[in-house]
């Protein structure tokens, strides 16, 4: 069970809703992923062509918890404004704080992320900041009262997987709130590794939406996250330099 603030979830997969080939494929992918938390962005509505379909409006919003993000914000003040706009919809209390500090790498601005987190915690939001894999920053975000920390595995949409498992394991070790690995996941193996390291959940988007078969990949990610979690709970064996036989040495019928 994944617990974030006052909310509990069976699924440890958080799914993004951007860049799917079609709404039909997206709906099916969301369904098979069994994700209960879906992320969204907040944008100006094209009111002059308002008949354009909207994915959220095709969803049963009672079935899912919405996690809007503050993507597009470059300062804490902009992130706080987007968060308040999202909350005014009356559809959600959670917010993914995302304050980008570098256009090329889309890495977060740590100082503005911390400021926005402090402010939104005071305002009563359930706050999940997207952060780099900085161990000290993750601690400070927790001290600021965030409800989960979401370190990136590698740059957003890069599919490079976990480039610093050591830092990620340090963050997990010292965490007092759930750790959700967010961004950079490319394959089911990456998602499973995040869970084996002890992460409480994985948030991904492009790995599914841009896969050759998004529906099949959504299923693969669900299974990988479940397998990784089970593996973590089971406790893996230590690595040894040399072989240890699995079959008994005694009672051989030859020689």
């Amino acid at each position: 069970m994944l617990k974030i603030g006052s909310l509990s979830f069976q699924s440890r997969l958080l799914l993004g809703t951007g860049k799917y080939p079609s709404f039909e494929i997206q709906k099916e992918a969301v369904e098979v992923s069994e994700a209960q938390i879906l992320t969204f962005a907040v944008r100006r509505m094209n009111i002059f062509e308002s008949s354009q379909p909207n994915f959220l409006e095709q969803l049963d919003t009672n079935k899912y918890t919405l996690l809007p993000n503050t993507a597009g914000a470059k300062t804490a003040a902009e992130a706080v404004r987007i968060a308040k706009l999202a909350k005014a919809s009356g559809l959600c209390d959670m917010i993914k704080v995302e304050v980008i500090g570098c256009d090329k790498t889309l890495l977060p601005d740590p100082i503005e992320t911390l400021k926005a987190t402090e402010e939104l915690v005071k305002e009563g939001f359930i706050v999940l900041p997207y952060t780099s894999d900085d161990v000290v920053l993750a601690r400070k975000l927790q001290e600021a009262g965030c409800h989960a920390v979401m370190p990136g595995a590698s740059p957003i949409g890069s599919g490079q997987g976990i480039i610093n498992p050591l830092n990620l394991s340090f963050i997990i070790e010292q965490a007092v709130v759930p750790v959700i690995v967010d961004a950079g996941i490319g394959s089911p193996a990456d998602a499973a590794l995040a869970m084996e390291l002890g992460a409480d959940g994985v948030l991904l988007n492009t790995a599914v939406s841009a896969a050759h078969d998004p529906v099949k990949m959504a299923k693969a990610m669900k299974l990988a996250i479940e397998a990784g979690r089970l593996g973590y709970e089971a406790g893996r064996i230590e690595k040894k330099r040399y072989a240890t036989a699995s079959s008994p040495k005694e009672g051989m019928s030859i020689g």
Binding site: V42, R43, M45, I47, N54, N69
Partner: protein, 67 residues
């Protein structure tokens, strides 16, 4: 009146008085939208009784796909 609506100057028809009239005018009153007037975010309940004035800056936002 003339208002700045999502970044565009628009001349609104005479009968539009409240925020809810604008939403009806654009046929988005039944959709999940959030309205901000001159930097003030409105709750849904406030749409009915928030009067618009000339040169108001109106932002109408909604949720779109994102990660």
């Amino acid at each position: 009146m003339k208002v700045l609506l999502n970044g565009e100057w628009i001349q609104l028809p005479e009968h539009i008085i409240n925020v809810s009239d604008v939403l009806k005018h654009y046929d988005i009153h039944q959709r999940h939208v959030v309205v901000e007037i001159n930097g003030e975010i409105l709750t849904k309940l406030e749409h009915q009784n928030t009067r618009l004035a000339d040169k108001d800056r109106i932002e109408i936002v909604h949720f779109v796909g994102g990660g």
